[in-house]
């Protein structure tokens, strides 16, 4: 008795799978066993009849808007709008030249009678741009009503039943599924009671609806016209924007993005064709901006005293100063004891000076009668005393000028006017030459430190710096080797102490696809991804493994194939589409 339910469940599973698979299998079998066209792509239900086509040069999207056809023309490789092209659309032997829509790049519009004629239209588009000419083909399906299709495809019971009613094949399939469900359930219950049969009928109906829903979904791809027959005209009269603002970018169930051309133009989405390249192996280091010892200066006082502003006042932080410019002066501070001692010395010298002067005068009058040696002695004594007085007298009044040792920008000012400072124990001003900055980084692996050839650094705000290796220290600092780089052409706005991320190229190369750094974005799961331009209005996320090449580019080692079109500009914005 235990085995019964197990068998039943197995059979039930088979029945469910069969009923679900039947609608999938039927269209596949109906396809004449011939695999034509491209690989199946998820078809996006667009609000307006749309044709997408592409050639190696161009990518073209044609959208029906009312009675006219709007053509979006872009470069295939870069997704740049093609302006100034001649676009001629032929359908059914009638050729119409589209005129450019003013104010919009790469948008062309044409009016033709067939646009409002339902059914499939085989279009040939002849494009003549400044540098290339091409022929593109495609099929434009116009639904039966001129009204745009409803944005949401009806998947309710009535819609399904309506569709089943219209298609004898679907009807047959639905009946078979219904009978299969009923028979299976009857067989499983063995003892056929009325209650069970009723239950079976219910299950069969459920399967029918499930099958119908699957039919309805499959039907979108091929039979827009049939669906539209059931719609009441005028029910879906939505306002028409000039270039189809009714469409909005959205994420499809398979995770890819549907981005209409209008949105692509707004987001300025650009792509590049992936090409395999060789790039140098790189390592990443952390560093910080430091001042060049020859490009940084400290201003210190040699004696204690009181700060007095220079001629142009005290320099403020950020001010540009010239070499030799007086930043401040110091009035020497002399304490009372020293001052009285000096004054005493001055008084003594002056007293001796008076005596010596009168002695020199007296001896000069007696010249000839006194030995010449005495006169010279007295004069030498007088000169010595004068020098002593000259040396003593300014000690109380002479001020020391503090000059900028180099030209640069004041980065620190530690004094205020009138402040009394002690000699040598204090850095009064710091000056940095912004054109001579360096980056100091630390490498933990000595082999890396020895293999580095060139490097680029990126600051937190994304500025890229090119670096030239000056050398590495022989002394380890915290078990790491300090490396010093000179910044070539430092941009303005760099600050000493600013952290930077270095990408240093080491010997050896790696093969991969070089992309700009901003192509690589993070998925919701934090995985690095790039967006591949799969078809004109569809983008697919590709998880990638990357390695930085320099500050601005990365090397994709795995995840994308050569010749794929990868979004460069606008990847971050695409990533936000939900």
């Amino acid at each position: 008795m235990r085995r019964g339910p197990i068998h039943r469940r197995l059979l039930a599973a088979a029945a469910i799978a069969a009923s679900l698979a039947a609608p999938v299998a039927l269209p596949a079998l109906a396809h004449e066993g011939h695999g034509h066209g491209d690989a199946p792509k998820p078809v996006v239900a667009t609000a307006m009849p749309t044709m997408e086509t592409a050639s190696p040069d161009f990518e073209l999207v044609a959208v029906v808007q009312g009675k006219s056809l709007v053509v979006y023309l872009d470069r295939f490789a870069t997704n740049e709008p093609v302006t100034g092209a001649t676009v001629e659309v032929s359908a059914g032997g009638e050729a119409v030249t589209a005129s450019p829509v003013s104010g919009e790049e790469g948008v062309y519009r044409l009016d033709a009678a067939w646009v409002s004629k339902p059914g499939p239209h085989e279009l040939t588009v002849s494009v003549t741009a400044a540098d290339a000419a091409d022929l593109l083909i495609g099929t434009l399906e116009i639904p039966a009503t001129a009204q745009p299709a409803e944005p949401e495809d009806g998947s309710g019971v009535s819609a399904i039943l309506g569709q089943v009613r219209h298609d004898p094949g679907l009807m047959l399939g639905a009946v078979m599924v219904f009978l299969l469900g009923v028979l299976t359930t009857v067989a499983l219950t063995r003892r056929g009671r009325a209650r069970t049969v009723a239950g079976a009928a219910l299950i069969g109906l459920g399967l029918l609806l499930a099958g119908g829903a699957a039919f309805a979904h499959g039907g979108e791809d091929h039979s827009h016209g049939d669906e539209a027959k059931d719609r009441t005209p005028g029910a879906a009269a939505m306002p028409m924007a000039v270039t189809g603002a009714a469409e909005s970018p959205r994420r499809l169930p398979d995770g890819s993005l549907y981005v209409p051309k209008t949105s692509q133009r707004l987001l300025s989405v650009r792509t590049m064709v992936a090409k395999t390249q060789q790039a140098a192996q790189t390592v990443q280091l952390i560093g910080q901006v430091v001042a060049d010892p020859n490009g940084g200066g400290h201003v210190q006082a040699t004696q204690s005293g009181r700060i007095e502003p220079g001629e142009q006042g005290l320099p403020y932080v950020g001010q540009r100063v010239e070499a030799g410019q007086i930043l401040a002066t110091i009035t020497p501070a002399v304490n009372v004891v020293d001052r009285s001692g000096i004054q005493q010395q001055i008084a003594m010298v002056e007293q001796e000076l008076v005596i010596a002067e009168s002695r020199v005068q007296r001896l000069r009058k007696l010249e000839g009668s006194v030995p010449q040696r005495d006169i010279e002695e007295a004069e030498a004594n007088l000169n010595g005393l004068r020098k002593r007085r000259a040396a003593l007298s300014p000690t109380l009044t002479t001020r020391e000028a503090l000059r900028a040792p180099i030209a640069g920008v004041v980065t620190a000012n530690n004094v205020k006017a009138g402040q009394v400072i002690e000699a040598r124990d204090q850095v009064l001003f710091e000056i940095v030459d912004p054109s001579r900055l360096m980056v100091e980084a630390v490498a933990f692996d000595p082999r890396v430190a020895n293999a580095i050839k060139a490097a680029t650094a990126t600051t937190a705000d994304g500025t890229s710096l090119s670096l030239e290796l000056l050398g590495s220290s022989l002394a380890l600092r915290q078990q790491a080797i300090p490396l010093l780089f000179r910044i070539g052409n430092p941009p303005s706005g760099l600050g000493v102490g600013q952290p930077v991320r270095l990408v240093a190229q080491v010997q050896g190369t790696a093969s991969g696809i070089v992309l700009p750094r901003h192509s690589v974005v993070r998925s919701a799961g934090g995985q690095p991804i790039v967006w591949q331009h799969e078809s004109p209005q569809r983008f697919v996320a590709r998880p990638v493994r990357t390695q930085p090449v320099d500050g601005g580019t990365v090397l994709v080692l795995a995840g994308i194939e050569p010749e794929a079109r990868i979004v460069t500009d606008g990847a971050g914005l695409l990533n936000q589409v939900r």
Partner: protein
């Protein structure tokens, strides 16, 4: 039990998903071959002669009696339309006026088999003298 249930369902689901690969891109006459609706079409440009060979999905020649075709040829930045007439077996022939040298020629053909809707195919030829 659960595994087998899944297995049964998976097998039944997977069967119709099997895809068929198309054949080579170059046809038996040396020209590029591509899909044209339910057919395969191969285009050969020989001097000024335009020949379109029609085969079915299995590359078996298809009789083109009663069929008509038109080729739109873009060469030297000039487009021209050439009517192709059935010329025995599975070939449709027409005469174009192509210049001397072409870097690349793009051709779009619209093939109308008797009693059917026209189907389009696009070809890109590196040189005219294939």
């Amino acid at each position: 039990m659960k595994v087998s249930t899944l297995l049964v369902a998976a097998t039944l689901f997977a069967a119709p998903a099997t895809a068929f690969a198309d054949g080579a891109k170059t046809g038996t006459h040396g020209g590029p071959r591509t899909d044209a609706g339910p057919y395969h079409a191969e285009l050969v440009l020989q001097g000024n002669d335009v020949v379109l060979y029609v085969t079915d999905g299995a590359d078996k020649p298809v009789d083109v009696t009663g069929a008509k075709a038109e080729a739109t040829i873009l060469a030297n930045r000039q487009t021209q339309k050439v009517a192709l007439e059935p010329a025995g077996a599975n070939a449709l022939k027409g005469k174009a006026s192509l210049g001397e040298i072409h870097d690349s020629v793009k051709v779009v053909t619209a093939l109308t088999m008797p009693g059917q809707k026209p189907v389009q195919a696009r070809f890109e030829l590196g040189h005219a003298g294939h």
